[in-house]
Symmetry: C3
């Protein structure tokens, strides 16, 4: 039988000892856990970044993989920790909505449980580092076969993270950049179908028109600014072998518009 | 039986091939080793950073876990490599004091051995990359069951790293920042008890008074500058959902003072 | 029997969900795969950086280790994906020459195969993320024992990456910096033997003479600019406990010259 996989996603960065401490706690309780780092470079406190990250990556994992997510600006406050079975995956998350984008498009979550049962926590719980004191031990016990029902009560209420949705206009759509990747590619909240279904739509970021519509980066010469369908089906703006984010000096929240009918100019 | 864990902590960064080469050497000798990355982003040459990192993270690991630490500005010179059994953990470290903070508060180290026995090293040893040529093969052999006593002679002398200790004053304490985490939180060398035992102490970083004393970040509104007890029991200065380091333009070494008796102002 | 090792080298960075998605796909097909991160911080699109990285690190791995390399500016275009058995290792690479430096100095590659057989790919293949849709599933199937011959036809043609070679001059050599590591050390394309065989050669980077020739960093005082033989046998310029790259404001491509006969000055 394969070792139980536990993935880790945090905003702790790699110069700090926090991820290491979590790994220690996990391996103390389950030395056979198969730890898989997803990212520790979610920007600090950036729950939206985490939400996009999880929605994009988690569906590719084996069914019932356990994912520990500690992007948790509310640590130590009133927010609780949730066990969530959704989209065929299992997550331990702060109740800040970081998983609700993952849930979209899937059947209702099977189950959400409030993690309250202190016997699965470290004996002393700090008020600033629940990753080490609650998330890690609870995940390790789950990987050993503890029943999620033993963690606490089932709940039907949780925080939702509202993501902006594109606005329809008579002649097109108005959306925005929701993620910037390592290459400076701008991923938007507009469906890629906006690009492929219409007659020659005009795509703009702010006031800058994106001159090329391509299928793949390699379809245009390096330095070209292009619009294409991203690997997760969304409208993406890229500079071929460059950085659209740097070139346009934009980031998350930048306005992106699609005009179906090109105006004469 | 579980695979033997070997953790890795270096200042090699992730764009360079050095960590990869170490992993190759380790896996050649013990293909079943369970490699766990702790950090490869210790700032270059920063032995103090490594010392804090190790002291904070290693106690959470299973007893007798083997930790390879290559933050080694003296590589190729007179410094030797040590095998250290301390605080219930086993380390391979350069003899530069990076492990002595971990040893504080624990019983005397059980055992320190000078790693001199060349038969456990790579046949050709470079003068710039002992991580690959000595640390990795020695760790792999240890994980296969080689007796540490075979690595070289026991020693009772080693380099100590002197960490600053807070100075008592009639009306308080004067300490300093010893670590800045990924969030820009300032961890000091002052015990957190300084905050919890006294009547309303006044905390300052340099000349800036920290206005709030909280139990958790979430106890104050975003943007507040707060003092609290860190997850390892030290006095910490933070900006809620921000960066105290950036806001105050300070780093390691910054002066932090605690006044027990608030002056009138 | 040991779990099959699959190493991962990409330019995806760690804030993006791309590496995570690849890991998910790999573990879905082979939950027992032993994934080893080599680097996800190859600079974006930098095939030369990847080439140096692979040539430096891969020879240290156990024979027949499988290495997945996704530094792939041509994704979605005409470039194909190759399976390469070379230097005792097995690679899945884009056909952009990133592996040809590794092949130098070894016997001819045993075998290069064009990865064309779609039954080992994900059913729907995006035009921007072959790491997830082709590399990951193919690697997982290989780790399960699929015969490389089933991936596609053998080929004897592939892209070569031309690395600059040092130019001989009557009184020395003229080379260049080909890699800058995390410490700001400058690795050149000049063999380290240029330093050790001649009588007191003079080494310059651009117009700056490197005043010290040492065996190890620790042989000179911190802040000294030194020339030495790097851990892979090349001429390296370093600032002891500092950054030569920052001090000299140079990077890859900077001119490095060796004068055998010192001029009087």
């Amino acid at each position: 039988m394969s070792a139980p996989i536990i993935t880790l996603t945090t905003d702790f960065g790699s110069r700090s000892p926090f991820v290491a401490a979590m790994k220690g706690v996990l391996l103390c309780i389950n030395p056979d856990a198969h730890l898989v780092d997803l990212s520790h470079d979610v920007p600090p406190y950036d729950v939206r970044h985490a939400a996009f990250f999880l929605a994009d990556a988690l569906p590719y994992f084996p069914p019932n993989t356990l994912h520990v997510v500690v992007v948790d600006p509310g640590v130590g406050g009133a927010r609780e920790i949730l066990y969530v079975a959704v989209a065929g995956q299992r997550l331990l998350v702060p109740d800040n909505g970081c998983w609700t984008l993952l849930a979209e498009g899937h059947a209702q979550p099977l189950r959400v449980i409030r993690v309250r049962e202190r016997r699965f926590w470290r004996p002393i719980v700090s008020s600033t580092f629940h990753g080490r004191d609650i998330f890690a031990p609870v995940a390790a016990y789950l990987s050993l076969g503890v029943n999620p029902a033993d963690l606490g009560p089932v709940t039907t209420e949780w925080q939702q993270l509202a993501f902006p949705t594109p606005q329809r206009r008579t002649d097109g759509l108005c959306g925005e950049v929701i993620f910037v990747d390592n290459f400076g590619n701008l991923i938007t909240n507009v469906s890629g179908s906006a690009l492929t279904t219409a007659r020659a739509p005009r795509v703009s970021v702010g006031d800058v028109v994106v001159p090329n519509r391509v299928r793949a980066y390699a379809d245009a010469t390096p330095g070209s600014l292009v619009a294409l369908v991203s690997s997760n089906g969304l409208l993406e703006i890229a500079e071929v072998q460059g950085s659209a984010a740097r070139r346009l000096s934009v980031g998350v929240g930048a306005r992106v518009s699609i005009d179906w009918q090109q105006r004469k100019e």
